[in-house]
Each structure stands twice: as structure tokens, then as C-alpha cells.
């Protein structure tokens, strides 16, 4: 497969995942409604019963897997492209985030595994419901239980900080990969990307803070 095709696939999967993050954040913010989880439960109920969501779940897994596998292929290939490294490492001014995509990616991946264990595996029946949940679909008590654990919550916030770094580069990078770079629009795209990264990182992070400190 051509080098550029890797870029297109990476970017397409990335854009899909970025859209997913928005919908996931919207659902999660319902946890802050202060209604004992009613609105959150309603949203969960909808997501668990809607057939379109069921299909999207498979697409989502495919998106993650493709993004991760292509990312690893690129990383391995790139490492091989410079067998002898420099004595003085490259000082060219590039955004720090762009240099550490694989590192932030690995941190996000580890988070993803923990996240799957806590919620998706419960849904599949591989892990017993906890936190006083009535059933494997009764997520609100489980959310409260996990977020009250400061170790989990701090790990969660750190992961989202790294996701923010990842997205800061990713957003404009996706445009560039599809050839959508124009000096008239790129500054605006970069700005929106920064705002997007901030919203995702902060939006997800205030939820554990709420459960740890206020709830």
C-alpha cells in the first residue's frame, strides 16, 4: 500500500473517532445533570436499544483497530527509515505534540483497555456488575463507583490530558492529509482544532472531578 494511502486511512479513521468523542462526551455530560442519573440512564437506554447504534458499535471498533494498526505500521516503518540516529537530536521547530503521537497514543490505548474492562466487559457479562448496579446495563452506579476511586479518576484525567495533546495535532493533521491546507483557512482550522482538543480534554475531565470533589 502506498505511503499516502496510509495517511488517508489514518486520517479517515481519526476523523471518525473524533466525531465519536463528541457524541460520547455529550452522553457523559448528562452525568452532571444532578438528577441521580435519570437523564444519563435514558441516554444509555437509547444507546443500548437503538439498532443503528448497535451497527455503529462495530464500525467504532473497526475504526479503533484500523487507526491503531496503521499507526503501528507507520511507526515501525519510520523507525527503520533512520537506522543511524543523530548525535545531536533534531532541533527543527515542530509542534511538540506532533512528535509524540505514538506515545500519547499508547497512553490512550492503555486507558481504553481499562475503560473496556470497567464498562464494555460488564455489558458483555465478562465482568460482574459492581457498585450496587441492578443489572449489567445499570451503568450509573458503576460510573459513580469508579469515579469515586481517586486512583482511577486521576489516571482518567491524565489520559484525557494526553488525548488532548493527541487531538491538538490530529485535527489539523487530518485536513493536511486529505490535502485541505490553504493559507487562508489553515489558521482557522488550527484554532478550531485547539478548541476541539480543549473541549474534549476538559469536558471529560470535569466529570471525575465532580464525582471526587462535589458529588
Amino acid at each position: 500500500m502506498a505511503s499516502l494511502s496510509h495517511k488517508y486511512i489514518m486520517a479517515a479513521a481519526g476523523v471518525f473517532l473524533m466525531l465519536f468523542l463528541v457524541s460520547h462526551l455529550a452522553t457523559n455530560l448528562l452525568l452532571l445533570a444532578g438528577d441521580g442519573g435519570k437523564s444519563f440512564d435514558n441516554a444509555v437506554e437509547f444507546l443500548l436499544t437503538n439498532p443503528a447504534v448497535k451497527i455503529m458499535e462495530y464500525v467504532l471498533f473497526a475504526g479503533f483497530i484500523i487507526h491503531i494498526i496503521i499507526g503501528l505500521i507507520i511507526e515501525v516503518h519510520n523507525r527503520k527509515s533512520r537506522p543511524v540516529s543523530y548525535h545531536v537530536s533534531v532541533k527543527s521547530d515542530t509542534s511538540a505534540f506532533s512528535k509524540f503521537m505514538i506515545h500519547s497514543g499508547v497512553i490512550i490505548f492503555i486507558f481504553l483497555l481499562v475503560h473496556l474492562y470497567h464498562f464494555f466487559f460488564v455489558k458483555l457479562g465478562l465482568v460482574e456488575p459492581y457498585g450496587g448496579a441492578q443489572s449489567a446495563h445499570d451503568f450509573y452506579p458503576m460510573v459513580v463507583e469508579t469515579f469515586k476511586n481517586p486512583v482511577y479518576s486521576i489516571g482518567y484525567i491524565i489520559s484525557f490530558l494526553f488525548l488532548g495533546f493527541h487531538l491538538k495535532h490530529a485535527f489539523q493533521s487530518a485536513f493536511q492529509s486529505f490535502g485541505l491546507n490553504h493559507d487562508k483557512y489553515m489558521p482557522a482550522i488550527k484554532f478550531v482544532g485547539t478548541v476541539y482538543a480543549l473541549i474534549i480534554a476538559l469536558g471529560f475531565s470535569i466529570i471525575p472531578l465532580y464525582f471526587m470533589l462535589i458529588y
Binding site: 499516502l4 507507520i74 519510520n78 533534531v90 532541533k91 515542530t94 509542534s95 506532533s98 486529505f178 490553504h182
Partner: protein, 251 residues
Amino acid sequence: MNLKLKIWRQKNAAQKGKFETYSLQEVSPEMSFLQMLDYLNDQLIAKGDEPVHFDHDCREGICGSCGLYINGRPHGPLRNTTTCELHMREFKEGSTIVIEPWRSKSFPVIKDLVVDRTAFDKIIQAGGFVNTNTGVAQDANTTPINKIVSDRAFDAAVCVGCGACVAACKNSSAMLFVAAKVSQMAMLPQGKVEAADRVEKMVHEMDEQGFGFCSNTYGCEFDCPKGISVEFIAQMNREFFSARVCKQNHS
């Protein structure tokens, strides 16, 4: 000025190299970087030592052969400047300058600071040319080209093929070089005809030569001595995409 030079010395492609340190006295701040190396070599030759090998030709920033990796920057600390146009006044008295060859699997070291850039020639041979007869000089004036378009094509055409983009890139990717060549010709009427074919062939050859994959870190743009913009990489991404998706197969 007095300087300490830490230079990569390597007998040939097969042997392992190592850094050698030299102290150089009374370097004039007005010397170009290459003149400074000439000055060092004069002294080495006088002592009967092997001079430091480095690539150079025009010494006026147009041939692209003088790439050296100086203190962690291709072509040294000054932006938009080739090594031959860099002057010693950019360095501090008494400082140590580390000089390395370009590092990339696709640019093997031949000797000391000289690397083999055949990979770039191969990419050009794959499609970096125009097959149509463009006539003699005055014929160029009979082909109407929008000034904005011709200026932009020229912005890409200033690429001297030095390889600094590969040297600067954390992935050792040649995208900026290939993008400049692809874009320059795709924008002009004479080159447009073969644009789809050209981008596919050149990208294919770039991959064959083992360059890394671009991850949009833009280090190439920062260190390009000719200030070529990564917008051309975006243009190549578009050209390649449409070539792949829309190209009609002729049977």
C-alpha cells in the same frame, strides 16, 4: 574566532565511523561555513592527515549539494539558508560545532559527511519531467499562464533537492521534496497533461526508496533552505488522491 569542531569521520560506506574533535584557531567571522571547512582541511593536509570530505559545488545556494547537519539543524542555525551561504558570524567565539551527515536509510554515507542521494535522482527519473515538446524560449511566452499560478509554481520550483527535508524529518520522509516537484509541474499547462501519472509514479518510487511516512510534523518546512511550504504536500496529497480515485484506465 576560535572554535571546536566535532566532525563525523567515516572512511567508506562499509566501515564504522566516529566523531573526531578538532580545534580551529583564527577563524574569520566572514568565512562561509564551507570556507571554514576548507581552512580546516588545509591544515589537515599540511599535517599529512586525510581532509574532511563534504559535498559542495556552486557555493551560492542553487545546486543543493552542500547539506550538512550542524548542531542539530540541517544547514545550520539560520533559516532559509544553505550551508554554503551560512557564515561563521552566526556562531559564538569558543563554541563547539557538531557536524554530521544527513541520516536516512535512503541516504547512505559514502565518506565522512558525504551521502549518496541517488534516491532523489531515482524519484525524478520516475516522473519528474515533462514529455511534451515545450518549444524554444519565445514559445514560452505564447502559452498564457496566470501570474499567480506561475509564481506559485515557481515557489515549488525553487527546491534545490538538497535533502534537508529528509534530514530534518523525524520520520526521514521525502514528502516535501517530492511534493515540490509534483506540484511545480502539476500547476503549469505543460506539466498538467501527465500530472496524474506523474504523481503515482513519483510516490511509488519514493516508497521504493525506503523513505519514511509523513506524519505532518512540518520539521521539513522549518528547515528547508528554500522556504518551501507544506501546502505543497497537501497539494500532492490531493493530486495522488484524485489520481487514484478518478483516473480512467485506458485499455
